[in-house]
Symmetry: C2
Subunit: 351 residues, 2 copies
């Protein structure tokens, strides 16, 4: 009911009274227009998202009638291709029907293969997901550091695996504008971040399969995914490629390798014609978003620790600000990974 | 009483019952040993301080009997010289008697002279303090960007100004290990950060004049004081000295200038033999502090947003952690600036 109010007030559409009456009688199915509005406001309310300025441009595919594996997969492929849009990425969400869930946390993820010595080949963050897919019957990929994982789509209580064709998982090879040795590290990353493990909450309804994408912010790839010690841990390799002396961190070699990797990721995406944000522009845009919201008379919620970038944060206009971190609806909520929820009788947090 | 308990429990000294009885009878004057312990624990409890590992090494000058201007000034000079210790800085606190206050927020501060065009020559953060000192009769300094301000010492209700001799305000000229043009910018910073506007709260007593110092963390100077747009705003100048193209921030010239300025500050302090921490070492030491505190059975409070450094924060071991930001006593509390408190009838926040 709050949502109907919001929808009619903000959009100026007539018919609030009638919809309210329907809701009171207990049968409210959101219209496509209402769902689209709800998804956009969920983005606008995402406290951890610094990229909210274009929230009104979100395209929403209303696929609530799609509830079978093949249908879901076909629409996910269409989502990936349509959202990539030849590099001029379009923020997009696909909302599937009841009983559908995607076990992968993002549609495009690299395998993390546990090795006998305890290390992980690929992305360590995805080791649990990789294990899970193996349990579900995945034979494994070619065994590189960047094997794209298959999708585990759940529908009607059954899970099936689907391989992503190469063109659906578009990737960018990472090269450096002036240091070829960085390019020779063989690093790459996929163009599209499509989050598929958050539940969209609108008007009291929960959509568990509502994958959405924006474009990347370069720090996500360069300052976290490729550089975290618990992820690809590539700063030592980048430093070696740059010929840095890594005897002591006090030389700031870590900071220098980090800078050059960020330069490389921006350069590579730009060269490949794939849209990507940088932390200076996106934080300025966020301030603009705040100004627009203030003008519209709406408070902005935010989580400071997520909004400030992991690189030179004090040079961005968010460092000195404070944010109210309350979560308001419509919004996104987290799901328990399928491989945790799937073991009844076992505590999901201490398995 | 809580404090006496803490003191006797942690130090293992006998006599708790007797001190408690004295406290009940209403006349408790802290012993020098108790005051020293209280000051150390106040440091240990400082949620915003990432440099807490050596909290037990704090030297405390018990000067509660000193309440006159000349005495305070003489002891402040002794503090500055003793704490500098030829560059091997010793964390030190001087606790003065009732009625003493130091109007400067740090003992060593650079003037910020308001110019007719609205800009500030020097450190803009100190423009209000500079105005205040002019009101108190200061004639002004030579007019450089780095004029050390006189001290405004309040005692017995009267304020007097004292010039700091050059050797008390030891400074380091900033040069870059490989780029001489950075050195030619004429940047410098003082060796000692001596915070003089926090009240030490121990056992229900408030010590308003208890200046203390540690050594600097290089990001404080290089990533904030010299680079913030509202401070010395030197990143454009550093970029020019490095010959960077500053047309677009997307080239990450800001990040590169920031890196080189941090390299320069560490290099300059190291060359000058003045102790300074770097953000990689100090965050590791903080983790060690946490481990030691855990072993001692004590919880650690912290403010994440203050503990993470403003440079490459995600490469430090604090990024992924969460801290409880409760303030526990003994601790430090903030004071209203003297130039705000000094105008009765005027709201200090909307003068
Ligand atoms: C258009 C470009 C976009 C940019 C540059 C952007 C940027 C970001 C960044 C940098 C994060 C933090 C990621 C992390 O640290 O793990 C984030 C998180 C988030 N964003 Fe955005 N975003 C964009 C689009 C979107 C869209 C289209 C939505 C939803 C419709 C969205 C909703 C969220 C949510 C819910 C989170 C939190 C994710 C989590 O908890 O893991 N964002 N965004
Ligand atoms: C020994 C070397 C020390 C280092 C490297 C260090 C480091 C730091 C840093 C980086 C900050 C944040 C400053 C800012 O962002 O403005 C800070 C704040 C603070 N430190 Fe330390 N510190 C040291 C010694 C001390 C000592 C000796 C004390 C007290 C006895 C202390 C108490 C505090 C307090 C109270 C704050 C908060 C100041 C404020 O609110 O402005 N620190 N410290």
């Amino acid at each position: 009911l709050d949502f109907l109010n919001l929808y009619h007030t903000e959009t100026g559409r007539p018919g609030l009274r009638q919809r309210q009456a329907e809701a009171y009688r207990g049968h409210l199915t959101l219209s496509t227009d209402e769902l689209t509005f709800g998804a956009r406001v969920a983005w606008r309310n995402s406290t951890r998202c610094v990229g909210r300025l274009p929230w009104q441009t979100l395209r929403v595919n209303d696929l609530r009638h799609v509830t079978d594996h093949d249908g879901v997969f076909a629409h996910l492929l269409a989502h990936l291709r349509g959202a990539l849009n030849g590099g001029r990425i379009l923020p997009t969400m696909s909302v599937f029907g009841p009983g559908v869930r995607i076990h992968n946390d993002q549609l495009i993820r690299y395998a993390g293969y546990r090795q006998p010595d305890g290390s992980v080949l690929g992305d360590p963050q995805n080791a649990d997901l990789t294990d899970h897919l193996r349990h579900l019957g995945w034979a494994g990929g070619p065994g590189t550091r960047f094997d794209v994982l298959p999708l585990a789509i759940e529908a009607g209580g059954q899970v099936r695996l689907f391989d992503l064709p190469a063109d659906a998982a578009h990737e960018v090879r990472i090269t450096h504008p002036t240091c070829p040795a960085v390019g020779e590290l063989g690093l790459r990353w996929h163009a599209l971040p499509v989050i598929s493990n958050l539940t969209l909450e609108v008007a009291g309804e929960s959509f568990h399969a509502a994958p959405f994408n924006g474009w990347y912010l370069q720090t996500e790839i360069a300052a976290r995914n490729l550089s975290d010690e618990g992820r690809y841990d590539q700063l030592p390799a980048v430093a070696a490629a740059l010929g840095l002396d890594t005897t002591s961190r006090r030389s700031l070699w870590v900071d220098r390798a980090l800078l050059e990797l960020n330069v490389a990721v921006l350069h590579s995406f730009d060269q490949a014609g794939v849209r990507i944000a940088d932390h200076h522009a996106v934080t300025r845009q966020f301030r603009h978003f705040e100004a627009l919201e203030a003008r519209a008379g709406r408070p902005v919620q935010g989580r400071w620790s997520w909004l400030v970038p992991p690189m030179a944060p004090a040079t961005t206009p968010l460092w000195d600000r404070q944010y109210d971190d309350r979560e308001v609806r419509p919004n996104f909520t987290t799901q328990l990974p399928a491989w945790r929820a799937a073991r009844p009788g076992v505590c999901p947090f201490h398995p």
